[in-house]
């Protein structure tokens, strides 16, 4: 802290610095990296780090063992996790009390603590390396891979792994035009959702009349359940920054903005630190690495509006106005921030740039599919066994993503649908599971790549109810400027609420289709036009569920509370009184040896009885017409 560093004035000085950093590091020295990103921190990673430091101090190993706090490694539900180098042994669900054993057995004794290893639920085999775990085996972690090796608050860690070499290459061995050409050749497409060719966007901005030009990073990731950009910004902020500086050089921008949502405090902190350190080393600011190119960057904290992720709204917000989209018939690349040419790319897009510059467009195009090269980070959530952040080559099928990496559907349930692209993506049914994931294929079936949210739903999910959830989200998050989006979503939500409440009418389906069409055809920005996706795909692929709600007043997944009833099956009830004791409205009557009965009039359908019954005697029935109650039925005792 407080040390002054020497500014790097040439590529050779960067190489020298890297050599010096590496020389100081002993590859055989044990390093314990602990993920302290949001997920693992919530599970107690902070306490594990504390325990590690304390134990190391107690044993006077400070000089012999290093503890590194790193970013997200993806397998969040098994956190806190740590890796012990040099053997790269991964431990999961580590508690502070496991620390002394890890130090004595693994760090000193070079042995493995078997009980902390990942056990493959299928084969029962224990994984001594990350790559042995099916969740990781099928991934290609070009962007996320370094998260486990880097302390995001230390630029030296990034430089040691070859960081800023791509910037040096671009600044000293390539003209701005050559950089753009390389990105164009790589066919990198915008990872924020639109899939627009990045190189073309850069070129448009470069050639657009008007100065100054701006480059911007979009880290306003607002999709429920998505944390791709967050993990990159928290875990490897310099990779984003390096990409941005290269882009600025190619475009001819000397000023940039990084828009991070306020809800990501760690991302804000880490990128701010990264900027400061890069400036200290002369990798950012005036005369970068002695190249003559200058570039400065500011962090702008978003005020919590989903719609601000839309490019024109984001720029309006940076200008200090309300984040509302503007009609974009003239692209923001031509007239963007303060009406100047502005190039906005998503976090993940920028992070791909250094890799392409360093390894070349041909290398990049060898990964993924022809029209969507490279990898894509997805946040795989929902009813799969392994949830977390995954990075895979484009073109992997949904089936492989869900079954090989995700480990299949939880509790042996049946797959129903997968929703890609966040709240304005579409539902994809089972018949399309072999679809290769890329920008164009997902659009063909009515969904989209979006920023990479993947939500898996099983048979217990009511499609009508989930559609309603998304439309509710979108109508809250709409800016309310244009009529199709504001009034259209309001009316769509009204209809969906009605259908879920069992008050749907036959003609509602046609009205929903008309509303979706209007949204798609006439909305001002992509929030409105894509809001039609969940409505249309659910109507196209799961129409029978809507019809069941409307015609039979039945919710096939037994979710919509107005359309279900809880019923105690007399042949299963053991008269244990647990349900009646837990019922918050005293709707269950029953006594010893007498089968319990739910008073349907009193029942508020909270589902507590269903959860607490140890005999599985409470069932949900839809339509909500249980057999007439018969009080005083004797219990049929189960044989022990």
């Amino acid at each position: 802290m407080g040390k002054t560093v020497k500014k790097i004035k040439s590529p050779s000085e960067l190489r020298k610095l890297r050599r010096e950093i590496l020389k100081k590091r002993d590859p055989k020295k044990p390093v314990i990296t602990v993920c302290v990103s949001t997920g693992c921190s919530a599970l107690g990673a902070g306490k594990v780090v504390e325990a590690l430091k304390k134990e190391i101090k107690k044993r006077k190993l400070e000089r012999k063992v290093e503890v590194k706090e790193t970013g997200c490694l993806g397998f969040c539900e098994l956190g806190p996790r740590l890796i012990v180098y040099p053997k790269e042994i991964p431990y999961f669900k580590v508690k502070p009390e496991d620390v002394p054993e890890i130090i004595s057995k693994t760090v000193i004794g070079k042995k493995v603590v078997e009980r902390l290893l990942y056990v493959d639920p299928v084969t029962g085999k224990k994984a001594r390396k990350l790559e042995e775990i099916p969740f990781y085996k099928h991934q290609l972690r070009l962007l996320l891979g370094n998260n486990a090796r880097i302390d995001p608050k230390k630029i030296e860690d990034y430089i040691a792994l070859g960081g800023y070499r791509a910037l040096a290459k671009a600044l000293f061995r390539m003209t701005p035009e050559q950089v753009i050409e390389e990105i164009k050749k790589s066919n990198l497409r915008g990872r924020g959702g639109g899939g627009f060719p990045t190189g073309r966007k850069w070129e448009t901005t470069r050639n657009a009349p008007g100065e100054p030009k701006y480059v911007l990073v979009n880290c306003d990731e607002g999709d429920p359940g998505a944390f791709m950009d967050r993990s990159l910004m928290e875990g490897n902020p310099h990779s984003v920054l390096e990409g941005l500086i290269i882009g600025a050089y190619a475009i001819g921008a000397h000023e940039g903005f990084i828009y991070v949502r306020e809800e990501y405090p760690m991302a804000v902190e880490n990128i701010t630190t990264a900027i400061k350190q890069a400036e200290e080393y002369g990798l950012l600011g005036e005369n970068i690495m002695g190249s003559g190119f200058s570039f400065k960057v500011k962090v702008h904290r978003g005020a919590g509006a989903f719609v601000s992720g839309e490019s024109s709204a984001l720029m309006t917000a940076i200008e200090g106005k309300v984040g509302e989209p503007r009609p974009k018939y003239i692209h923001t690349a031509v007239k963007g921030l303060w009406e100047k040419p502005s190039c906005l790319n998503n976090v993940e897009t920028w992070a791909n740039v250094p890799l392409i510059i360093l390894k070349g467009a041909d290398w990049f195009r060898s990964i993924g599919t022809k029209n969507s090269p490279g990898t894509k980070i997805f946040s795989l959530v929902g009813k799969v066994n392994n949830t977390g952040l995954v990075e895979v080559p484009m073109g992997i099928t949904l089936r492989d993503l869900i079954y090989k990496i995700g480990g299949g559907i939880r509790s042996g349930k049946k797959f129903k649908a997968v929703q890609t692209g966040g709240p304005s993506g579409g539902f994809i049914p089972e018949k399309y599971l072999d679809l290769p994931i890329d920008f164009d294929e997902l659009t063909k079936v009515g969904s989209m790549m979006g920023s990479g949210g993947v939500i898996v739903m099983d048979e217990d999910t009511c499609i009508v109810d989930v559609t309603r959830y998304y439309i509710d989200f979108l109508s809250e998050e709409s800016c309310g400027k244009c009529v199709p989006c504001r009034e259209g979503l309001k009316q769509t939500l009204n209809i969906l609420n009605r259908i879920c409440a069992g008050l749907g009418k036959e003609e509602d389906l046609k009205t929903l289709e008309d509303l979706s069409e209007l949204l798609r055809e006439a909305s001002l920005c992509a929030l409105g036009t894509t809001a039609a996706n969940p409505i249309m795909t659910s109507l196209n692929y799961f129409r029978e569920e809507y019809e069941a709600h409307i015609r039979e007043k039945r919710c096939p997944a037994k979710v919509c509370s107005a359309l279900i009833a809880y019923y105690i099956q007399p042949e299963k009830c053991q008269a244990c009184m647990i349900c009646s004791r837990n019922c918050p409205v005293n709707a269950i009557s029953g006594e010893r040896d007498i089968v319990h009965v739910i008073n349907q009039e009193k029942c508020i359908k909270c589902g507590i009885c269903y959860e607490v019954c140890p005999f599985g005697a409470v069932e949900k029935i839809s339509p909500p017409t249980p057999p007439p109650p018969q009080y005083g039925v004797k219990v049929i005792r189960k044989k022990k």
């Binding site: 309300v322 503007r326 809250e476 998050e477 504001r486």
Partner: protein
Amino acid sequence: MSREVTLKINGKEVKATEGMTILQAAKNNGIEIPTLCYNEQLKPYGACRICTVEITKGRRKRLVVACVYPVEEGLEVETENERVRKVRKMILELLLPLSNKGPIKDLAEKYGVTKSRFEAEPTDCILCGLCVRYCAEVKKANAICFVGRGTKKQIAFVPEIAPNICPTCRECYSLCPASRVIDLGESIYSLSIPISEKIKKS
């Protein structure tokens, strides 16, 4: 300085100056495109979408709003075809429960929208923002503003500014497509109360 461009509107060749919008070019040539949130004195806003038209560029057809889209050489514009009419009808059907007055009523009649499948609180305000934008852009007073977002968006007077300006200005009254601001302005004592609250009270 500005170049002249030729485009086609409804099959008819039309001359326009670069930088003009489709709406202006159409107007200059006596072709009517309906508007609700448009006013010549103000920056185009593109919110009501009633001026939606279909354009053809090369082989690609798409819908755009005429009040914002700039004219281009060789552009083909359809202002009243089936696709366009369908959008306008649907927009009017959504607006009708909010307000059935003035230009909304006239347009609904013109496009044959006699009843709406939708229900809404009849606030009379369609959030076209003419009052807000006029006050900000022309009067530079910012006495009236939007509050909230999404389906909960409303218009309210700014309590610190409005009482000093609005009672004597009243210039926005005539802009309101539903004359809603008049009702509001008359009860200027309760300026800080959002419109829908006021409706509930009255």
